[in-house]
């Protein structure tokens, strides 16, 4: 699978959980790997690239960390959108 396609799957996976469950990195890696047949390492690498450019972000709440889709406010602050 192309990296871009895999990243779209990752994005969709995170979006589907929005407001329902706080996803940890591991949840995403396991879930997307099972859905796509890609190796956990490949999913992790693709996900990390998304985090590095602000397509996904680490979040923190309820005493633990998770991965989420960033808010517009966050992206504006990071200069990712004008």
């Amino acid at each position: 699978m192309e990296v871009k396609e895999l990243q779209d799957k990752i994005y969709a996976f995170v979006q589907a959980a929005k407001g329902k469950k706080k996803l940890k990195e591991k949840d995403i890696i396991k879930g997307v790997s099972a859905d796509t047949g890609e190796t956990p390492d490949a999913v992790k690498k693709a996900m990390r690239e998304m985090i590095d450019v602000g397509r996904l972000m680490y979040s923190y709440g309820g005493g633990s960390s998770s991965v989420e889709i960033p808010s517009e406010e966050y992206l504006r602050e990071k200069g990712m959108i004008k």
């Binding site: 985090i51 680490y58 633990s64």
Partner: protein, 395 residues
């Protein structure tokens, strides 16, 4: 700048101990943020409650740790603390500083933050208190361009910490600062990107005196020890006696294993029965010294009481050589992390997971054999598991 009346906090400028109120007022002369922090704290003193919201979602791009979001619940009344985030800067191992290097950080912090710090946070980082969200990225860029980086937070590896070890202590059995720095550098990814069920802390102590409280505050405690005898310098023993030390009462009678004797001349140690607790060595440092093979005991699991009670770390590997590049240790730790990551519930620390799954499951998963040094005493009840492989050969 608004001038706050602080009659309650002013009471804490009196007395001989250094005053944090003085520090806050000093910072408030230069910073609106520190000034509003002072104002809000006075209100907390009046109302006997804090005015901070839960941490928020802030950080630097790509990292999930190092910044802890903090927002005032009274942003209109105290706009300077509307955002008042914490930035953790990873301390150099041992917390030695060249003054110029530290001044660079201070200058940056005056520019981008409130001018208030904690030297240091409980885990060991330099803690920069009070940063606005939009200042995080430029501050981070400035800090990293000068060779510093952020520490850990969230469900990640926390900034490793150590005692000063060989730098200035004759009791250090291992090179604590090197081990600490090695782990910090080797596991930057785990430090900055929270990938685990919960936090994980390393603390490295050079000996069993444990000046870094590793046995109480680290998921993995690395505590220096030795295997050989205690060398006794009898001339120095005599000097201690001459200097007024009651060797029988202060040393021999306080030895927990009763392995010492003293006839007024020679101090004798039955080394086979010494537990290497450090009492005698710490009191007669000129006369006594551990010899032979040096290394560390690896203990796992300590934490504060949330949720079902505090834990002290448990001995897992009684003795391990600790020499660069510390491969035996890092291979063990990576096995520990894998088992923990595979099995833990959210917010479950390694010590809690071991209690839940049983020490045997843990030891088997990481490939460590049972040893009497791991327990104070064997079990008292007659209930125990047998696995098929235990029955083979009728062991």
């Amino acid at each position: 700048m608004k001038k706050y009346e602080t009659p309650l906090l002013d009471e804490l400028e009196k007395g001989p101990w250094p005053s944090f109120v003085k520090e806050m007022k000093t910072a408030a002369q230069k910073s609106e943020m520190a000034n509003d922090e002072l104002g809000q704290l006075e209100k907390s003193y009046k109302d006997r409650r804090g005015y901070w919201k839960h941490g928020g979602i802030v950080g630097v791009l790509g990292y999930g740790g190092g910044v802890i979001g903090r927002y005032s619940s009274l942003p209109n009344e105290f706009p300077g603390v509307a955002h008042f985030h914490t930035v953790r800067i990873n301390q150099p191992s041992g917390m030695f500083y060249k003054t110029d290097a530290l001044r660079t950080i201070l200058d940056l912090w005056d520019e981008y933050g409130s001018g208030l710090t904690n030297m240091h946070g409980s885990t060991g980082d330099m803690v920069m208190l009070g940063c606005r969200t939009e200042a995080l990225e430029p501050f981070f860029a400035e800090v990293t361009s000068r060779g510093w980086d952020l520490g850990g937070s969230g469900s990640a590896l926390r900034t490793p910490a150590c005692c000063l070890g060989k730098a200035r202590c004759e009791w250090a059995n291992i090179d604590t600062m090197d081990i600490c720095n090695h782990l910090t550098q080797m596991y930057q990814d785990y430090l900055h990107r929270p990938a685990w069920p919960y936090k994980f802390k390393f603390k490295v102590a050079g000996c069993a005196v444990d000046c870094v409280a590793s046995i109480a505050r680290a998921d993995c405690s690395i505590i220096g020890t030795w295997k050989g005898k205690i060398a006794v310098d009898q001339a120095a023993v005599k000097d201690y006696a001459k200097g007024g030390m009651d060797i029988q009462a202060e040393i021999v009678d306080m030895c927990p294993t009763g392995c010492m004797s003293y006839d007024g001349g020679e101090l004798k140690i039955d080394d086979a029965n010494c537990s290497r607790c450090m009492h005698c060595i710490s009191k007669m440092t000129k006369a006594l010294k551990g010899t032979g093979e040096k290394g560390a005991s690896i203990l796992i699991g300590s934490k504060a009481p949330i949720v079902v009670g505090s834990l002290l770390s448990w001995v897992i590997v009684p003795f391990m050589k600790m020499e660069p590049p510390y491969t035996e240790f890092t291979e063990l730790v990576e096995k520990i992390w894998e088992w923990w990551d595979d099995n833990a519930k959210p917010r479950e620390r390694i010590g809690e997971l071991i209690e839940m799954k049983g020490m045997r499951s843990f030891l088997e998963a990481i490939g460590v054999e049972p040893q009497a040094q791991q327990v104070f005493e064997p079990r008292k009840d007659p209930f125990f598991f047998w696995k098929d492989e235990d029955l083979n050969g009728n062991k």
